[in-house]
């Protein structure tokens, strides 16, 4: 867990409204675990006031600028432009100064290498699944179901394919892959590979549907959630979700930033899981 003042190495649009940003981040190759995230400070001046949370897409090493210098460790994030902060982010360039707090949170449990894995990613929810797949492919069979509204929302297929992950694409409008929801693909795959465990990240309605499917089949499920966050370190208690033991009399809240963002499905109270990823908007 580091708090770096650092710089951007690159920032490119990879699909309409989706950007991939590489940020100089020493030690992250060692520190970062699949499913963890960073709190990203867009600029020193206001707005935005608060940092924005983003999943770590991958880590890596880049060639130094000059022989004799150490290699540059970096992370990459992939973000969708949705509001005031990401609008500013898309304008950032190589060399711009930013601040990075992380890696934060509890990542995925890699599970039993023997078991088959099905990863389910909706839109930008793909991001934290890449490092997960990276760690898994050596020992496990990994299938990735990618869903999106249109083909613009389907990103980084190449990257996953290169890892040796079998990818299945579906879009709501049929503009790429199968027409329909990613959950219908999931049902088919689970029928075929009933022993697989599932790892999901995406919009709340998708997560909800995935949970229902897995619950009826007793399929082990890990989900990565989003929540409005102020601190990212467990201090503000702004990002909580209701835990499985939650009752009105004996409420139990879990911090998405610290006890999550990845939860085992059984840790959560699904009957009450609120839509938390609603953006806060209008804050510029």
């Amino acid at each position: 867990m580091k708090n770096y003042k650092t710089i951007i190495l690159s920032n490119q649009e990879i699909s309409p409204g989706y950007y991939r940003m590489r940020i100089l981040a020493p030690e992250y190759n060692k520190l970062a675990k699949p499913g963890q995230f960073v709190m990203f400070r867009v600029q020193r001046s206001l707005p935005p006031l608060l940092r924005r949370p983003f999943g770590i897409f991958c880590t890596g090493y880049a060639a130094p600028d000059c022989d004799g210098m150490p290699e540059k460790e970096f992370i990459e994030i992939i973000y969708k432009v949705v509001g005031s902060g990401t609008e500013i982010m898309q304008e950032l360039h190589q060399g711009d100064r930013v601040e990075l707090l992380g890696p934060l949170g509890r990542g995925f449990d890699l599970g039993d290498p023997e078991e088959e894995k099905i990863l389910v990613g909706g839109g930008i929810g793909l991001v934290p699944l890449y490092m997960l797949a990276e760690r898994m492919v050596a020992n496990s069979k990994v299938r990735l179901l990618m869903g999106g509204r249109t083909r613009d929302d389907i990103i980084t297929v190449t990257e996953f394919e290169r890892l040796g992950v079998e990818t299945y694409v579906s879009t709501e409008d049929g503009s790429l892959g199968e027409e329909g929801l990613v959950t219908q693909v999931l049902e088919r795959k689970l029928a075929k590979y009933p022993k697989a465990s599932v790892y999901a990240c995406g919009p709340m309605p998708m997560i909800d549907a995935v949970q229902k499917i897995c619950a009826t089949r007793n399929t082990p499920l890990q989900v990565s959630l989003e929540a409005l966050m102020a601190c990212g370190v467990g201090a503000c208690l702004g990002c909580v979700v209701k835990g499985a033991g939650h009752t009105d009399e004996n409420p139990q809240y879990l911090c998405t930033c610290k006890q999550g963002p990845v939860f085992l499905a059984e840790q959560l109270d699904w009957s009450r899981l609120e839509k938390q990823q609603g953006n806060c908007g209008g804050c510029s």
């Binding site: 707090l101 467990g234 208690l237 979700v241």
Partner: protein, 315 residues
């Protein structure tokens, strides 16, 4: 000129220590309650020994679950929160958090509240003999919970009563934290001073609200929340200025501080110390930066002891 400042005039180490209600702080900078967890959350980013004091999340007699979500929302240069005073309760705090905090030499100030007068008294009583608790900060001002103190904080007589009762049960330095959501804060300030407060801290958040125009729902599940951050600083400076004029006891300034220059405004109007809240979320290291900035300011201005600066506003 600038060379002169750089060498001859520059003081090696201006004194930053201040004393509030018998509490000795290495410097006037400490976290604001509820923005620094129980201290341990920020320990990886900041040397807690560098802080003037450590102020905990608000604690109550029993654990408290807090409000439904969403609980936070960014606003222009500020944020709204309606956490609802979620906390682990005073006993769990004493058992699990005090040992961690005891490792550090910065005084620990426990922020607390009650739903009733009796609860306030009970929490203070339980803390009385706990070693490692240097002082108490009594929150009579949280705007989020119906019975979370708003009644006490906005009515001078109620404030006087609850502080008097707590005072009887504690020998520890007692700081009372005021709400800004009143017509004349000098009235409540005087009431709590009369009732035996050793110091006054302010401001807690201003009540505010934001609406999602697409869904037509409030952005907070609780509809109304507390506004904090840089946006509120001018209001906080004004209130601290007024309270400093009105009371004898020392005042701790809070509200929108994120830079040394912000902290200086409060010190100049007469606050003996300051608390940093929302800015911790933005930069976990911000208090160190502020402390360094205060030192540098004193060096540049030829101030040997920061106490010389406190209350030097020229009106």
């Amino acid at each position: 000129m600038s060379e002169l400042r750089g060498t001859a005039v520059k003081l090696a180490h201006p004194k930053l220590a201040v004393e509030v209600a018998g509490l000795k702080f290495k410097n006037p900078v400490m976290p604001a309650s509820g923005t620094f967890g129980y201290g341990e959350e920020y320990a990886p980013y900041l040397d807690l020994n560098k802080l003037g004091a450590i102020v905990t999340k608000g604690l109550s007699l029993n654990p408290k679950a807090g409000n439904a979500t969403p609980r936070i929302c960014e606003t222009v240069s500020g944020m709204l929160n309606a956490i609802g005073l979620q906390n682990i309760g005073i006993d769990a705090f004493i058992e699990h958090k005090i040992p961690f905090l005891a490792q550090y030499n910065s005084p620990v100030i426990v922020n607390f509240f009650g739903n009733t007068l009796e609860e306030y008294v009970e929490v203070a009583t339980r803390l009385e003999d706990v070693p490692g608790v240097a002082g108490l900060e009594m929150n009579i001002s949280c705007p989020n919970v119906k019975h979370g103190g708003i009644v006490f904080g906005t009515e001078a007589s109620a404030a006087h009563e609850v502080v008097s009762q707590v005072r009887k049960k504690t020998q520890k330095p007692l700081i009372v934290k005021l709400t800004p959501n009143v017509t004349d804060i000098r009235v409540t300030a005087k009431a709590v001073e009369d009732a035996g407060a050793d110091a006054i801290s302010l401001i807690n958040t201003l009540t505010g609200m934001a609406v999602d125009v697409k869904t037509r729902k409030p952005r907070l599940a609780n509809t109304i929340g507390g506004l904090s951050g840089p946006a509120i600083r001018p209001i906080a400076v004004r209130l601290v200025h007024q309270v400093v004029q009105a009371v004898e006891v020392p005042v701790i300034g809070i509200g929108g501080i994120s830079r040394a220059i912000d902290a200086l405004e409060f010190l100049i109007v007469g606050a003996k110390a300051v608390q940093v809240g929302t800015a911790n979320f933005v930069d976990p290291n911000v208090m160190e930066t502020i402390i360094d900035g205060l030192e540098e300011f004193c060096q540049n201005e030829g101030i040997e002891d920061i106490n010389e600066l406190i209350g030097t506003l020229e009106v």
